[in-house]
Symmetry: D2
Subunit: 343 residues, 4 copies
């Protein structure tokens, strides 16, 4: 961390800064420059609270030089983390894994039907919400435990791994009991009790980037899971809030190579929430793979106009089948492959 | 809701839209125009899921005309909601109420000391975090239950009402047991299980606007609390995420008159988180009152450079005293007053 | 356009709205609904100023249903516009055209050298700034006319078409005299006198999206060029401003399919400005092609660390060569091809 | 400037960075730390191009420590700049100056009429657009030279100073011939040829913050004017782009104290464009004064529903009169005053 002093800062003000740094348990090294002095902090581990220094007299700004996250960082672990599931699907290796399914589990026949179709088309993980976070309290909130049981039945019949979202600490335990992956949604990216509990379940955690989370905040949220001793985090870019209303969000695909350079964790993309519009999903799914995503999570529904939630952004099954064909070609362009279909 | 058709939409496509609307249980009214047809939906209560229509063939866009929130709306209740506390403080009447205190409760002597000072200066509600949501898992996370007990002791000694944040459902019950107001922080604005539980405690809920929440999402979050039968919600603007790094957030003061025109709930402002910088807090606190805020929540610390969190944005006690003097004059300019100090 | 009335709007207020609409020369059609009345405006061409209605008594909001742009719209012209250059390169057909070159023309030998290399690697258009818009008045501002002459010489030697940016109306004439395409940069997207003059030169115009331009504003800026009788506009997504600082901008690739659905104009992407970081450029260039871009514009410099501007985002020549190889494979995945190299 | 190296950077990579810095003409000072080395650049004047360093091998990030602007900075000139007009109005002293008038000059009688009313109510500067930058090429574009003449006549009759916007370099000369202040609008904040020409007119320049300009970019735009030898720049916050659609922009009032701490130039606010909605203008005008603005610029129209542009955000004259009364009280709260009315 670097404390930059105003050019008019007095020697006393500089000394006071040095004093506070030492009181915090670190070494301080004043660096006189042409226009102003800066004070470097030596020996810190990235967890310093800048606030304590920012408000001191004579301080112009405090610049973090080290990053506050640790275990998620490539500086902590250089080789890629590969998250492996029981059915052989891996996230973070050379293969690109595809998760697909409806926004919400709506009924047993519907989820079983779409699961069989998706398996045929090459998805290896099934998504489906049992507990749905809805912006309005009056919208459909999911089937709950029953939904998890339908998902488990779909896994039994197809071999697909399953992922479902948890909304609160107890829900995390319940989801972990049934699903292969516990999902933390964008709205809950900074729900720390939920992150901790999901971490403690020991199951892989699929963590979506918050609506307006910086990449540093995103990695720090993952750090909460790793700090519980659970290394299996799959990160997911799902679009950030922006000013244009033509798409629901702006899918920030550059976050994929950025995160991959900063962290060893796998990073996938969600072109469905990232655009919110069916006709854009295929284009952005292809683009995510071309940008280097380690996987996709795509909403597919057997009958989108009748979907109970997110119908507008759900692909028809045949659109999903085309996407699978296209991304296989694109994966080759960057010397990767799409996970082989389950037999 | 208005479904706008493409100018090339066929009669069949328009009929299909009408059919889906009727299947959803509403009346559909096609409105032919110069360039294109639109289809109005009659008889809905604002809770329609646009997704089901957005993806239909021939649809250009779906425009919500009614709003999805109800009980929080001025169309539901015209007169202002006034949230009243046991010590006589009200939010939403003609008086402007001031909440002040440290970011976190750090020790019993520290919280008692600042509480006595703040009472002298005219604050009538004491803030202090017992459970702290921290971006890094390695930062100070609050004293927990002990912190709540220290706050309660401060109330006993001074008569100040107290507000503390809850991070998860069980925490909401605990906070409600000790505090006069349960706070839901910006990170948890869309943590629906938490909102429901906070609503069920029956205690007034201070709900902060999420980092990038639209005003509609903000009001819908409040709707979750009202939907539990709890009408006592105090809304709080605390800054939204933006692109400039000179301030921590952009304090969106226009949200105050906007919310007051859409909703009957009281709306206060947090100039401390809204700027993140001590030297801006006073200016923005004054501006919030001038913009019509029903109250302020301000971080004040007895010794900001030694604060365990948010030191950079905490006022010194004498700065807070000056702010109180200034806002009294400003309140007069708009025919309001600041809540009288406790005796 | 739809004028939505408050649910408490009186019959007189509704009549007043109807009166103003008629005074503006249009038909008004009140549409009574369950909760409120809306008033539709019939017979307008999309150019109505909402302001005149928005402030009337009883009006809740004014919702544009038609779009204010015309000639750029697919509803005006259904088939794709193809912008063709003298050397055979086309933008907007089935081939993907690649523009490459340094940020600024720095010297005659440097631009000639890189031009020959880029031609070998398959680019067919050469970029190079002669007039540079720099955030600081103290940065290198370009070689001016001399730079244009060096570009023309590079065209003479290699057959590459050339594109250069204009900063003001006279500059547009000068650039049009030498270059095949006149570029309007992001900072000038709403510089209307410049757009008009560029339009009047008759040369194709490469129009970059403004830093925070909505897609509607972007298309309206293009409309300024078409309104001068110049149909040859190439649109370019180059990243929009956002809150994270890891990349210079957020490259909004979904804008590609969105614009292509709304407009017949070709749309290319600039992964160099879109990321600002060399190591992200290749990934985002690939992603743009996968998303359906009609071309790329990429900064390549013979010796990036010595570049006088934008060195950090300029590719080394061999990195550009790899990108060309990869996008050829990706183009195949969507049944397109990259423009054949010049012989 | 500080070049932060990756923790795995080799000694050779660090040396290469030092070499490039020296080649650029500065001193380099490596600062070894606990986790990584940083290299400080000594002797630069803030105008360094970070790009040249950012892309070097082993570099993690380049952090600017000095700011690239100079003459606008408080470090260059500590005392406030006061911009004084012939009629006695000053911007930047202890008095708060108020500019008011219609968005566009529409006719001679209309501008004369409103000018007389505004003078009575206490405004001392009249605004009115003669050249209007309109998002659509089909909207009213202003009366041009004739509009300037009407403004000059209004000045003659009332004594009000006048301000009008220039859109291109020749327009700047024309506006300067007639008006007391040349305005550069938000869309043109980075139109550098226009900024230079406006600077060379010698007239005071009112510079509006761009739609998504950082404060650093805003100050650098002002630097273009000062670099032409013109010290009389009035900065203006007019709202920045954000994600909510309830207001046209987010008025970033914290930018007022931020700019005032970084620069000696006067800073005013435009609550009309900052909100876009008449009913919010008064609240935000008051808030701007409370936040410390050195003045206001407010749209007032004699008959807003009939305005040719921006009618929705224009105050009625009596609303403006109330605002003037309120801000006089608020000014007192911070020991300032509103400029005395012209006699």
């Amino acid at each position: 961390m670097l404390v930059v002093m105003k050019n008019v800062a007095s020697a006393e003000e500089i000394e006071a800064v040095v004093g506070v740094i030492q009181e915090m348990g670190y070494d301080a090294r004043p660096i006189p420059g042409g226009q102003r002095t800066a004070v470097g902090i030596i020996g810190n581990d990235g967890g310093i609270d800048a606030g304590r220094l920012q408000g001191l007299e004579g301080v112009l700004e405090v610049i973090p030089v080290t990053h506050p996250y640790k275990q998620v960082s490539r500086e902590w672990q250089e080789e890629d983390t590969v998250v492996s599931l029981a059915n052989g699907t891996s996230f973070g290796g050379s293969d690109i894994a595809v998760i697909a399914g409806p926004c919400a589990v709506e009924s047993e026949p519907a989820i079983l039907d779409i699961a069989h179709q998706l398996k045929e088309m090459g998805a290896t993980v099934l998504r489906g919400g049992a507990f749905k976070p809805r912006t309005s309290p009056y919208s459909f909130q999911g089937l709950g435990l029953e939904g998890l049981k339908f998902l488990a039945k779909a896994r039994e019949q197809t071999g697909l791994a399953i992922v479902a979202e948890a909304l609160d600490p107890e829900g995390a335990d319940l989801v972990a009991e049934y699903a292969d992956i516990v999902q933390i949604g964008a709205r809950n990216m900074q729900n720390y009790p939920l992150l901790r509990r999901a971490g403690r379940t020991g199951k892989p955690v699929l963590l979506k980037r918050g609506m307006s989370a910086t990449i540093e905040e995103f990695l720090l949220a993952a750090e909460y899971v790793l700090a519980e001793g659970n290394p299996n985090v799959i990160l997911c870019e799902r679009g950030v809030r922006s000013f244009d209303t033509h798409t629901r969000n702006v899918l920030d695909l550059a976050a994929i190579p950025v995160v991959q350079s900063l962290s060893h964790l796998p990073m996938i993309a969600d072109p469905s929430h990232g655009t919110g519009i069916r006709s854009m999903v295929t284009a952005m799914g292809r683009a995510a793979v071309a940008a280097g995503a380690d996987g996709l999570i795509v909403e597919v529904h057997g009958d989108p106009p009748r979907a109970l939630s997110d119908g507008a952004q759900s692909l028809y099954p045949d659109q999903f089948a085309s996407l699978m064909v296209e991304i296989k070609v694109i994966a080759k362009a960057i010397a990767r492959d799409v996970t082989a279909p389950l037999s």
